[in-house]
Symmetry: none
DNA sequence: CCCAAAATCATTCGAAAGGGTGACGACATC
DNA sequence: GATGTCGTCACCCTTTCGAATGATTTTGGG
């Protein structure tokens, strides 16, 4: 649900002015370059060359300016209220479990991974060897299509497998 | 700057590399434009015109790119008001942010970690080096008292720092 | 303009994670 | 009995993390 955020008009500081100045300076630069080229050497291919130069220069300036502009107005102030009241009991749905293709043990380990435990700690808690934990985690990663445990956690949450 | 960098000649800031790539693409674009112009119409003054065009285009692209690179900043701050809300927009509370002692960048990285990205992927996404990501993550782990990234994610969620 | 905070990057090294493979026993099913 | 699944464990190997440290550069505020 999209909150009816009272979007306060963003205090855009002289962004427009900046852009304007930017554009103008661009024109001036072009002109200058043109002149220079004109009274210096007139090579057939120079067009490409100085075109590329302009492009490169503007590339740099553009990026820099972009960075600057965004960095200027770091934080926008909005008023909203998200109070999470979704403290449901962590009950696993059997259907989800089946759909995911994960075994109970794997889900259990996924939960422990999500709670921030290392493989070693999980092994200690479940009274099994670390290798076993690794095997389970590998398999559940494969089933979830995750490459990392953090990813597995995300997928698991998305699938409703873990609170 | 006496760094005897081994592998990469100039592994400076990723941004520079981007600018470089950007510039090169500019050159290509120029050439293309030149060709097009060549087979279309050959006007004397077209040089300035399409130069200005290029400049404008790159200005736009540059700004856009810059904005894109640091899109992080559109972070929003909100106030506490009891209303039941589900998964609204990922908005960060400034008070929480301050209490946590994490910098915006650190929170950003925490979010990316939570979304299951590896350090390398985060580095690529933020256009910084992997080392930088590691530094940030180390610091945020320290601040959160986490020993692992999964733990940091858990703490971050608990603290309301990440969605 | 100066300064502190923040962001950036490198280097090294040990620990943890993850992939791959093979194996074994318990259990259920066909 | 054959088959299949699950849980368990081991070994090897590569990749990734994370800690510790030092350094430089932006940047924002006074």
């Amino acid at each position: 649900m999209i909150q009816p955020t009272k979007s306060v008009p963003r205090p855009r500081r002289g962004v427009l002015r900046d852009i304007l100045i930017y554009g103008l300076s661009g024109g001036v630069l072009i002109t200058v370059l043109k002149l220079i080229e004109f009274r210096f050497v007139v090579v057939e291919h120079s067009v490409e060359i100085y075109g590329a130069l302009i492009a490169a220069l503007f590339a740099g300036i553009g990026i820099w300016l972009g960075l600057r502009l965004t960095r200027k107005h770091p934080t926008v102030i909005l008023k909203e209220v998200p109070v999470l009241a979704v403290a449901g009991p962590f009950v696993i749905d059997e259907t989800r479990m089946k759909e995911s293709g994960l075994t109970p043990r794997e889900i259990e380990i996924l939960g422990l991974i999500a709670s921030g435990l290392s493989n070693r700690e999980i092994a200690a808690r479940l009274f099994v060897s670390e290798n076993t934990v690794k095997t389970h985690s590998s398999r559940l990663f494969e089933k979830l299509g995750a490459k990392r445990r953090t990813q597995a956690v995300q997928f698991g949450k998305a699938a409703g497998l873990i609170p």
